[in-house]
Symmetry: C2
Subunit: 562 residues, 2 copies
Amino acid sequence: MTNSWQDSARQKREAILAAIPAEWRLKDLPSVEEQRDVTGDYIRGFLTEREVEITETDAEKIVGKTTTGEWKAEEVTRAFCHRSALAHQLLHCLHEIFYDAAIASARSLDSYYAEHGKPIGPLHGLPVSLKDQFHVRDVETTMGYVGWISTFEGKKGTGKEKVFESEMVKELRILGAVLYCKTSVPHTLMSGETTNNIIGYTLNPKNRNLTAGGSSGGEGALIGLRGSPVGFGTDIGGSIRIPAAFNGLYGIRPSTGRLPYEGMANSMDGQNTILSVVGPLGTTVGSLRLVIRAILSQKPWLHDPLVHDIPWRDSHEQQITSLIDSTDSSKGGKLCFGVMRTDGIVHPSPPILRAIDEVVEALRSQGHEIFEWNPPSHQAILDEAFKTWEFDAGSDIKSAFALSGEPMHPQVAGFSELEKHYKASEIATVNVRLRELKKVYMEYWNSTAKFTKTGRCVDAVIGPAAPWPAARPEKYSYYGYSTWVNALDYTSVVVPVTEVKRDVDVVDANYVPLGERDRKSHESYDPEIYDGAHVSVQLVGRRLEEEKMLAIAEYVGKVVGK
Amino acid sequence: MTNSWQDSARQKREAILAAIPAEWRLKDLPSVEEQRDVTGDYIRGFLTEREVEITETDAEKIVGKTTTGEWKAEEVTRAFCHRSALAHQLLHCLHEIFYDAAIASARSLDSYYAEHGKPIGPLHGLPVSLKDQFHVRDVETTMGYVGWISTFEGKKGTGKEKVFESEMVKELRILGAVLYCKTSVPHTLMSGETTNNIIGYTLNPKNRNLTAGGSSGGEGALIGLRGSPVGFGTDIGGSIRIPAAFNGLYGIRPSTGRLPYEGMANSMDGQNTILSVVGPLGTTVGSLRLVIRAILSQKPWLHDPLVHDIPWRDSHEQQITSLIDSTDSSKGGKLCFGVMRTDGIVHPSPPILRAIDEVVEALRSQGHEIFEWNPPSHQAILDEAFKTWEFDAGSDIKSAFALSGEPMHPQVAGFSELEKHYKASEIATVNVRLRELKKVYMEYWNSTAKFTKTGRCVDAVIGPAAPWPAARPEKYSYYGYSTWVNALDYTSVVVPVTEVKRDVDVVDANYVPLGERDRKSHESYDPEIYDGAHVSVQLVGRRLEEEKMLAIAEYVGKVVGK
């Protein structure tokens, strides 16, 4: 009577496609070889001029028009629905499609505006995509698990199926956002590549040889192809920043306790040594700021017990803009950036190093200070951080696979081999050690005030988000550049910088790897395969510095011309 | 060659006494029967008029004089040293005495003032006592463990012995505070009575039949006898509020992440489901506000990785004062208090119920609203919270006792019987459950806005901090009234209300206990034994509402005449 996991997966996969109106279906899908890059003119070819105009407008400008009645929510919504439908067919980036509900919701927003002459909230008529960890009424949350189909987080008969909504979903609705799709994730969420047995492998729109990243890979692919103006992902080891970086987007990993995670599905829920956080990805910093400010205006600390009562702080942004505008660079009235070109464990690939250099040069030319970042051991931090992923010996993940009998993809198969189940005193040791490492790093950061010309501490650290511009399938082998940030609970924003140029970003034939892990990483980069891919950097700030880091990221984006 | 634990304990006990100057030693110590209450005129009999004046001035007024040069730091320090020395002899409340260092530090503050004509900081010349979890250079931290004598947290040769200082100690020095003693704790810290094999049992100065409370019991006894104007304790299940309540003091349990715990000794360090927090006890709310504001002025979030970047918020206080001053009580422009007379598990004793009624009547007479608090199950919250104390099967505590072979006192002997060591997935289950319970409680609190006349949520909940005004030795049997606050991470302030009156606070002969636990609690109360003891209530606010709750506590103290 019960379906095989293959049947269940296929039915779900077909149901997702079936939610796409016939007129938006692509008849002939090009192969990767035929069409490596599906962004730009390629995707525009399937859209009207008006749809292109709408979908290539950033979130901030969209609400500038939808909250003033210049654009109708329905038209905006339809345009993004159309483009997201194309994205899914070309990239496999959606888990749930609910265009009808979205259009109904857009219409009711338009009615509200017509009746009251004002928007319902600051996100009135803005389509927002959500990673498939958010619970949205009337649709499922599978998180890529076949065994979660027709359940609530793997359980049947909870009464929450297709009814329960995550806290942030409720807030987005109040703010006037239009929800229309949920985006793909790797099963387990614990991978920098997005693949699962339901929708397959999520491709990178700029270069379909490569992954869109993970675990918020569907968000990365979708927004990368402008099928969404802004969306929310989550990040426990890089899962917002990796897809942002791989798709030429801005993405922020806020510190824990800034945005509400309440009521979302998760992997290994209850592991509270390093918490997953939720945060936006978008095409501009303004988009990220818009949605964060909007969410904070809802006082999420009254609805999520883990959110701190910290409203949006304009003054933190203003401090940065006045430093930027300062003409007093001789006395150090400007910004000061640390630069970390390598963590000494795995060296970044040539395009990443070039991107860092371009950022450094652009900032230096504007009179900002650059400081060589020589931090305490990242290896020591990572050693503790990676333990947290294994605390429960993979039991939560194994049980999710056991529901259907589906196999684990190679990217996460390590979980099936875990045997050691940490006990309380071992977890306590990790907690103490991580706190000590945070303190040491914090005092290193404090100490920079003694060496900078500004006399202030380094404002942000420029470094890689990953060793490569993106990863080739089954080659995402190193999480160190993103995970140290989670371990220290720092605020971090990814900034797009450039694209891979096959003739410039060549491989050093004489390169001597630092070890086996570095060798694997080194060998996975190939200028031919990577040509045209987005290249991004990560800007890391201290804990709970979201306003400051967005202001810095916006400025860095400007000086590098993005 | 190694001492027996008895010898080590005796030597340490004698060394503490030996640090008291001969002229401050009491020759004849009165028995409890001879002198139940050692506060007031009794203790004053050993002091000069000037010493009484100084030591009966609250912290806020002290710094009003020491920061303006009206009082010399040295004279203030000497007065509190003297009174604290008397307190220790009568109550056994100190673990470390360093009067010489304190006087030297006070002199250097006086020199600074003489030279610069201004104070070194907002706490210039204020003596501050510290629970024996703070590391202070030149003295030990035993935390009541014989095995910790001559070690750093039980370890030898760390290089930190008598050198390392806790973060807050450094900040207090910068602010101009004078450190002069460390106060007693129960071994393990996990008890509402303070007793250990080094200094014995810490008595309640107002009624020496009773405990001074725990685990910050030394702080409670010392400040209760005015041997300190303000001091810092810690609280994981009630350890600030219990001694504050038992000694007629104000004490605040801030939410986690508000004040720096960095670099302090602890029990079961690394258990991060429910974190211990640090907070002040003092004779007035002004004292607590003074030291919290001062600490926050040091931006502790730059030196403690677990502290949030939340400066002192004047506006939160002002909102309360304007509500209090509002004359618009008909429309609900006043405050609204929930009142919880019982948690339905253990009923409070008669004097606690009378204190709650007195508070309720006083507030009602001022036009404030009183709301019957019918919260979600406290039993469910406590079930999860108490598990956290047992996660490691007592292994951390057992190993501390094993260092010397000393026995556990009956109040904490339960730890020796623990066998179940929680594993990661079991801890995760507790974490998820606690988060769910927090959410449910949060939404109950939110829902009160629908029922109050103010149309706002309840501002604070009035309830017991413990079932009794204090506990008789070995009879502290129930932590539910304090620990629910830790489990939910709420802000809570204890407010003194009245004293036990043997003729008023009589036992109901027809009382039917709710169960065995309630029976034990009920039988431990005896009006004769308790006569004269302080009676306090607890005011509970939501998470990170320190400014608001201090303002409310100050007002409540005023209306009940304390």
